[in-house]
Structures are given as C-alpha cells and as structure tokens.
C-alpha cells in the first residue's frame, strides 16, 4: 500500500493561503500578496501556487482578476438541498440581488423524456419555461421547467422575468408543489449554455434535476438546471436520530 506521509504541495499551498487569510484578518475584496511575494514568503514554486489558487477559486475562497491580482471572495450564495426555499429567497438571504431573464416560455408537446418524467403520454401539451438566473447581474444558472398545460390555462401570458413561477402556480392555479426528488451531478456547459452564462464552453457545472409532486404524489413539474459552481453552491444539513457505528468496513 502506498503511503503519503506529508501534505502534498498543492494542498499545502492552498491551506497556507487560507491560514494567511484568517491570520491577517483579510475580508472579502482584500487583495492577496503578489504571486511572486507569496512564492518567496512560503517557498512554493510558481506552478504549485497557480494550481492552489485555481483550486481556491473553484472552491469560492478567492477570485482572480486578470491584470489586477487575486482577492478574497465574498461568500457564495448557497442553495439548501432539503426544504422548499426558493432560489430568490436563498440568494436574498445572503444579501445578493437575484434576477431572472426569460429565454422562452411556450406551450409545446411532451417528448419522450419529459413524458416519462411527468408520467403523461408523449405529445401531451406542456408549458415549458426556460430562464437564466442572475446574481447581482452575473449569470449563475439556466433553468428549464415543464408542467402540464392543462392545469394552468393561460400561464404563458405571465412574465416570469418578474413573477415567481411557484407563486403563480400556487395563487392563480391552486397548484402546490410539496414533495420532490432532486438529483445532482457534474456536467459541462454546451455551446448555447456557455453563451447564456457568459462562460467558456466545456466548463464544468452542476446538473440539477427534479420531479416535483403535489400532495397526492402525482408528478406535476419536471425541472433541470445547469448551475455554475463558482456562482452558487449547494448545502445539505442532516440530523442523525440514532447512534451510528454499526457499519462494517471491509479491508482490501
């Protein structure tokens, strides 16, 4: 079995920078020393430092601005995975300004994928809404949602750049989405998404999808979302009701 007796250079460099931020009491927006000064001070080579900074940018600890240096990042807005707190509420709670722009809002027919998710026959009329979400004016995600058109006649007339989709469903159509099963994975942004999100094609992103059901468990809404990890992260909190410890570990 291979053994690693010490911290690896990139991990060490990343941790050293994070310790420095705490020890010096640096605040969001404060600038880090120049790369050259950091290398001299801590004895890292340039490549290691670069790699560490990139990782801290990905983790939302730092922001890099070409030509002006590296800065301590403001905490990223987080979406709580459990519970029905909306994007808008989550983002506002962190002190940021959310915004949505509609890419399209149309009544269309369910294709085989959507029909499976909503448990309806292929060709069923569905309302499909695609929006880009912004946080403080910067694009953070693209969300596409599908809902059976039958239960919400005239919904395409609403302006979902201004109105909340769930609020309209609840207040105007009496549709309350109470349960859901959500999945998260890693994807890369395609050409269209890249354009809408103002990022390079092929960059990694979260792929979030869910089927939401009403009180009776009937699927009502299917949505999928491509979320930029540098703009938004996901948070989950679990409470353990029993004493764990019975799980056996098998040796290899």
């Amino acid at each position: 079995m291979k053994s690693e007796s010490t911290n690896r250079p990139r991990d060490l460099a990343a941790e050293t920078i994070e310790n420095h931020i705490i020890d010096e009491g640096l605040k969001p927006g404060d600038r880090l020393p120049s790369e050259r000064d950091m290398c001299d001070k801590w004895g890292f080579n340039r490549a290691t430092l670069h790699s560490a900074i990139r990782r801290l940018v990905e983790e939302g600890v730092l922001v890099s601005r070409v030509g002006s240096g590296t800065f301590v990042a403001s905490p990223r807005p987080v979406i709580k995975l459990q519970g029905a707190i909306s994007f808008i509420e989550s983002v506002r709670a962190m002190g940021y300004e959310p915004e949505a722009r509609v890419i399209y809002a149309i009544v269309t027919e369910a294709d085989s994928h959507v029909s499976k998710k909503l448990s309806v026959p292929m060709g069923t009329k569905v309302f499909s809404l695609c929006r880009t979400r912004y946080i403080d004016g910067t694009p953070a995600s693209i969300e596409t949602t599908f809902i059976r058109a039958q239960g919400c006649p005239g919904i395409e007339a609403h302006d979902f750049g201004e109105e909340s989709f769930y609020q309209v469903l609840r207040e105007q159509y009496g549709i309350a989405l109470v349960h859901g099963r959500e999945r998260l994975s890693v994807t890369t942004v395609d050409e269209t998404e890249a354009e809408n999100l103002d990022i390079a094609e092929g960059e990694p992103a979260f792929y979030q999808s869910a089927v939401m059901t009403d009180e009776s468990g009937t699927p009502v809404e299917y949505f999928k979302s491509t979320v930029l990890p540098q703009r938004l992260s996901f948070f989950s909190e679990r409470h353990w009701s029993q004493t764990p410890g019975e799980g056996a570990t098998v040796n290899v």
Partner: protein, 240 residues
C-alpha cells in the same frame, strides 16, 4: 445538454441505443443480466449487425452496459443512489447497501491544525489533529478520495486503531461520542494529476467535491473532511 430526443430520420444505431436504454430504465433488462445478442437484435429489428454493435458500444462507453469477453453484454444498471437525507450519511449508506465496499488508507499522521482547520473544528491553531487520507471503493473500483481531520484531544483512541479494520463511526462509538448532525457543502474542483489517478480519472477532470463537518450531540465539531467523488459511480439525490 441533449434530451436524447429522437426523430424517425435519426441514424438507426442511435434509435437502437435509445430502445435499449429505455428497456434498461423500464426494467425489462434488469441489472446483472445479459441483453440479447447482436444477431437477435439484428433479426428482431431487421437491421445490420454492425449497426447493432455501434448502438450497444455507445451504451457501453456510457457505463450502462458492460461487455464481458465470451459471455455477452451485461446491464450495469443505475448508479448507486445516494440519499443525502439518509440516516448515517453518505459514506455509511454506500457501505450498508453494498457488501463489496472497501477502504484503502493512504495516509494517517498527526499534525498541527493551523488556522483554517482550527476555526472549523473550534480548537486552537497549535492543537494537534489526525490527518487521514483514504480511498473508498465499491466492487474494487474507487469512487471517493477523502481527507479527514479529527482533533487528537477529542478522539485520542484513533492513534492506535487500524482504520482499515474499523470505520471512523465505530471509533466514535468506542469513545462514547454520539454523532448528531452534519453539514455538507458541494462544489466542483478539477483534480490534479495524482488525485485523479487514485480515482482512475484523467488529470484535470472536474469532480464533485464535498466539504463536510460532523458535530456531536453537544454541537462540538468531531471531524471535518473534504472529499472528491466520481459522480459517474454514485449519484446524489435528495427527497423532500
């Protein structure tokens, strides 16, 4: 992102791919079983064997099917579903569901906490922590590379316990610690070459990254960890 939308003018091998995919999804071809042979498909749909092979190959490279020399093509099935709500947590739920789970300890040593981990673990920067790096495997295939930090003063017994025999949860149990809560934050990090190699991925691959802090019933942090997960070998899902 493609929805796998197909038209009748789509290439035949793509149509076949989607037919097989939906039969897997609908359970007609259950995990662990073989699918019909290329000849059988060719006959059933009136298409060429090479076309069948192209369609099947696409699903093999997606990881949905597995080709075993001389025995046929097997259904791998759905990814291991990981329910973040489940009692016992992500890692434990993986182990309970699958007997073929294993842990490889890559490193275990004592070190000074430093400011970052001291803040997370509510200890002093000069206090010592155990630093553990391990690889979690399922059916011999790695799916998670994990770094765990535990304050030495809270779990001194860790010094002498062989973590390839006992899980950390068992060790906490030995020490009378009751785990009450944990907080997990997700991000995506590109793996450096060596970490990627542990997980059998190309260097720079984006990986789901979990930062986790576990608290006991007095709300004292017991461990913090950072792990990189191959999301093609397990998926994250939440029910509410």
């Amino acid at each position: 992102m493609s929805d796998g939308k197909l038209r009748k003018e789509s290439p035949i091998y793509l149509q076949l791919r989607e037919v097989v995919r939906s039969k897997i999804e609908e359970g007609e071809y259950p995990p662990g079983c073989t699918i019909p042979s290329e000849n059988e498909f060719a006959e059933a749909y009136g298409i060429n064997r090479l076309t069948v092979r192209n369609g099947i190959d696409a699903l093999v490279s997606e990881g949905l099917l597995k080709r075993v020399q001389g025995r046929g093509v097997f259904v791998v099935g759905d990814k291991h579903g990981v329910d973040l709500n489940i009692f016992g947590g992500f890692r434990k739920s993986m182990r309970e569901c699958h007997a073929d789970a294993a842990v490889k300890i890559l490193a275990k040593y004592r070190r000074e906490a430093g400011s970052k981990y001291a803040r997370i673990l509510s200890i002093e920067p000069k206090d010592e922590i155990f630093f553990i790096k391990r690889l979690n495997l399922m059916n011999g295939e790695p799916y998670e590379l994990e770094q765990v930090m535990v304050p030495v003063a809270r779990v001194p017994q860790l010094e002498t316990i062989d973590l390839s025999v006992f899980s950390l949860y068992e060790v906490y149990g030995f020490c009378g610690i009751t785990i009450a809560r944990d907080e997990e934050t997700l991000s995506i990090v590109r793996l450096e070459a060596k970490d990627a190699r542990y997980l059998g991925m190309p260097a720079n691959s984006p990986a789901m990254t979990l930062a986790d802090v576990i608290y006991d019933s007095q709300n004292v942090p017991i461990e913090c960890s950072c792990s990189f997960v191959r999301d093609d070998r397990c998926s994250f899902s939440v029910s509410f």
